[in-house]
Subunit: 246 residues, 2 copies
């Protein structure tokens, strides 16, 4: 819904939001990429909720793109596990049960620890230190503001900064951050205030270790962060993980 749909066809594409992730030769994002980003953003902001049914005709109208481009985007998101496609029945925002979330954490943790170690080894310039500290401060601010969409955006930016500084671009490809956004969106609304604040404080510790060029501490800080998240997941009530009865 974020699109005010001034649009019509052949928009000027002056939409230069400087998507830094583009490893492409500076070309504009494709229509499918814009749709993917819009949907991911919608998930972070709560406009799309897990389990929601996505209709192609509806989305093509609302996003002002053709069915082909939309299908490319949905296919991409399905490959990343963000939506699930059912033949003849449409696309749904994926829902994660408790086991999937814990599995996801087990998978993400070693990658995050590697990313933190590399960032700690590689954080040499003032600009890099500044960037990490700003990212951490931004997360903190969003948490205090209780703005979920903003928090999830800035959490993403934090990881992006960490990976960027670490200098291992394969990590960016492998880390299932979008899928994590999905699970964060699911639990963010029902975890307790204490859990939320505790979680947010973890980023500050990781940042401290990174800017001090202490890979061992950075690794440990990430481990603690994930241990805390696992504890939170175990404490959540069953209704946090909707079982889909299509």
């Amino acid at each position: 819904m974020a699109t005010s749909t001034k649009k019509a066809r052949k928009s000027a594409d002056a939409d230069d939001m400087m998507d830094a992730k583009a490893v492409n030769d500076g070309s504009v994002a494709s229509a499918a990429d814009r749709v993917s980003e819009t949907i991911l953003q919608g998930i972070r902001a709560g406009a799309f909720v897990p389990g929601q049914h996505l209709l192609e005709p509806d989305l093509t109208r609302r996003l002002g793109i053709s069915r082909g481009s939309l299908r490319e985007a949905l296919k991409h998101l399905a490959a990343a596990g963000i939506v699930t496609l059912n033949r003849f029945r449409g696309a749904y925002i994926s829902t994660l049960d408790r086991k999937s979330v814990l599995d996801l954490l087990d998978t993400l943790e070693p990658l995050a620890r590697l990313g933190a170690r590399l960032a700690a080894e590689n954080c040499g310039t003032d600009a890099q230190r500044k960037r990490m500290q700003l990212a951490a401060a931004n997360i903190d601010a969003a948490t205090k503001e209780r703005n979920r969409g903003l928090y999830l955006d800035r959490r993403r930016q934090f990881y992006d900064a960490m990976i960027d500084i670490g200098g291992n671009m394969e990590l960016a490809r492998a880390m299932p951050l979008s899928r994590t956004d999905l699970f964060r969106a699911q639990v963010e609304t029902i975890q307790t205030e204490r859990q939320r604040m505790l979680h947010a404080s973890g980023y500050a510790k990781i940042t401290k270790a990174i800017v001090e060029n202490d890979p061992v501490s950075a690794d440990k800080a990430v481990k603690k962060h994930f241990d805390g998240t696992r504890k939170t997941i175990h404490e959540l009530p069953p209704h946090a993980f909707p079982s889909l009865e299509i």
Copy 2:
């Protein structure tokens, strides 16, 4: 009462729904998926080499599908880092330089170690043990046969078995196995016989630890395996990593 009866009817149909869903889940792959698999298989077999130019008209003719479906597949492969798309200039099979390969190994290693640990913890039935041992034996046979395509296929099957037994499906999503196929295809032709045999022997050690339910040894075996691969990469001559053409 009315609502109650309605729900009852739905419940009664639950069995049928499950059945239908199960059947549906095993449905045919989409055209785009078939194309992706064909291209990946072609890379493993050597029919497509890194740096090769992929023309849409040519591929649509050879694969017998429409441009739309082909583009879906190429987009998918591009997201996985298998091909790179250049606006107005076509798609190319990606090439990996030495740093990218080492970064890829750094990223894959912790995931492979996690997968091996989980498999070792979870390998409880004879069928599972048999599957792992068969996968390892198959790799060995393909190595001795010097059949590169077969070796890469079976290497993939080995990882699939390990992940399957481990029971963490998020791992399957996150592990950049296809991208590793790419790098394997690049180096497989020029590494020495000793390197090749040494590498193949690693799978046997990993398998042994897994079937003996020894997660610590499994983790160590994977680590050694990756250390060996890194050594091989460092020993390779520069021409193994083509600098970007054009």
